[in-house]
Symmetry: C2
Amino acid sequence: MKITSRFTVAVHTLLVIYLFGGERKTTSEFIAESVQVNPVVIRRTLLSLKAAGMIEVKAGSGGASIVKDLKDITLYDVYRAVDSVEGELFHFHENPNPACPVGKNIHSLLDGHLSDAQRAMENELKKTTLADLSGELAEKIRAQAPAQA
Amino acid sequence: MKITSRFTVAVHTLLVIYLFGGERKTTSEFIAESVQVNPVVIRRTLLSLKAAGMIEVKAGSGGASIVKDLKDITLYDVYRAVDSVEGELFHFHENPNPACPVGKNIHSLLDGHLSDAQRAMENELKKTTLADLSGELAEKIRAQAPAQA
DNA sequence: TCTTGTTGTAATCTTATTGATTACAGCTAT
DNA sequence: ATAGCTGTAATCAATAAGATTACAACAAGA
């Protein structure tokens, strides 16, 4: 099983707001066209990002803007903002038999190790900021620009 | 979304085979009673573990036994054996719009970082062997034993 | 103020994935 | 040959995610 695409959608959303925020109104519909998902999915994403204090959304007139320095937003922050994983990453079988010594102890035996693994993944996400990504993106766009006269 | 319970079921299965293998025949039904899942689920697990060279299953007469040193089986090996995650851990939105500079580059922008995160998690799983777990388990069982005369 | 475009949010539907369950052929040891 | 298991296919049910429809509330400009 995979981690929900809400996460990559949210990162995509932030980058679109950042890149186009200056020149046009970034509505849920506009963002949805870039991500290629239903606008309602984007609205839900925007709500999560707003709740996390990363963006501001204009009710009524429309459009979102970033209100936090991209240097201060890590991939982990976005991952958390949209609840990419609710609680534990690993799914345990629910009812191990407590009458069996293995069933009785399997949870306490594995929990620590599985938490460590999950934490290692999450810590890795903390290493990359949205500023890093927007920098990499700008570079790619520049490299892809048509040759100038 | 969470990682399938096949993983914890497989670890549980190996520990049951290890702990009871000496004194009784560890059939899929017996293991299923400890894990509390359907015996067919255990049979499928046994097939995976067998394919990974960790156990041997006696067709016909029944029962499984471990054929690889527990020191040489890490949690990562079990994780792989049962395909806990098929390929990528993170699920990408499928069709970002290539006509948008963000949609065009989002994949190459994120792939490396997401792979790093997944790898960090998997490397953490490599640190724990089944021998470690069986040792911890033995200790827990000893601590839980009723006081002796 | 009326109109238009947009957000916030609920409700429903579809699809995918899992694990549960049933069923049974084939094998092995007694 | 019999009884007990495994290997495996087929089906079913439950869960979760995203798609989609619908609409009230609201903000800004005509």
